[in-house]
Amino acid sequence: MIDLDQKQSTIRRYLLGRADEAGSEQFEEQFVRDAEFREVALIVEEELIDDSLAGLLSADDQARFDAHYLAGPRQRQELTLAQTIREYALANPAAGPAVAPEPTWRKLVELIMGHGGLPAVAAAMLLLVAVAGLLAWWVSSRHGNEPQLVTADAVARLNKPPYNAEPALSVPLTSFLDRASGQGQKFAVPTGIDIVQLQLALPATPYQSYQATLRVTNGEELFTVGDLSAQQTEAGRRLNLRLPAHLLTPRDYTLRLNGQTTEGRTDSVADYYFRVLR
């Protein structure tokens, strides 16, 4: 499910021209490559327009909205269209539904059990739904999710100190934003190697812990592991991610790193692209 609130302030900062160049590029890069983020950004944009029309923006935000956001002709067109819909809706209040007040817990129970009518039937239906849910969970846990969970478990164990084995292959990787456009990062995994260590160069901002998600580029997610730690080295901050070598078959991969702040917030930190050669 899309979490709108988590991204809203970052997106509004960009739309109102408050993001610095690095922040803008990070936003735009994610907007181009991430369909879910793109939808969130467009939702936040529409709500920004709504808030402006409804007089809900602060004086400073409104000034920035007028001076920065409306600089593009397409934005002015969007505003006009939103204004047309809003004015029509306000002029036709009867067209909307009458909204009921919030139900109390008693009303909620009534909703579930029916109005004193057939509680036994309602209970039987609830039981049926619960059994169906359990069955669906059992089937998915046996078939759909198992490989991903096993992989995530294996990767989590490999990255939990103390380490039982040292990697035979270490590969330094830089994030997409830190390397020149089009420069690929390629390596081969020789046979007989058990562990590959990806040495991820990190931006300067530190996080309490990190979460890594590896997916095949334009394909399925292989695993997500959390509780990863970074180290400060002479060359800058680094995170060493140890992977079972058999996981890295010859393909293109995308590794996303998120950072967890002490306040519990999750930020997107960096993306790494690499190709494993035959």
Binding site: E29, R33, L56, Y273
Partner: protein, 197 residues
Amino acid sequence: MSGLSVLKQENFDKLLVWLHDDREHAGQKYEAIRESLIKIFSWRGYDDAEDLADEVVNRVATKIRWLVDNYVGDPALYFYGVAKKILLERERREQPHPLDETMKAPDTAIQPEEDLAADRRDECLEKCLRELDGDDRMLILAYYQKSKQAKIDYRKALARQFGLNTNALRVKVFRIRAHLKKCIKQCLQTSPQGETN
């Protein structure tokens, strides 16, 4: 595609294959990338956002043979890299035009010379609302009711009424509104005035 007239069909076909093996998926991905670039150029204040996006596609297409053999990563990011380059070149030549005082957001009072276009917009809106599913029509119209705190409370109640949480309500309203806006834009393009603003 007007800005792509110089683009060789062969290169464009290769570009689609580079985006995805399946041509339909490739087409969708191409449209998503192009629309994203148009948005970005527009948010950065450029009037010719569509031409700039087409210029990006042209430049990527001319390098497609090299890209297929050498580029590693999400193709969308390569497009974005080229877009940044074009922005830099453009900024060296000229600055984006900041909003002129006379061009500020249209006030609630619509300019007299825009009356005809406004009438046409209303007609298109009514036509497109009629084409919506009954629940969707009710929801989109209800979503705009009330103001300030009353609006927030009203939307919470509205979400309950439709059996959604507020997050899901916002997504649903966005999708209905996107459909509605697309319909209105198409309607306006076929209108006698043929303008949206």
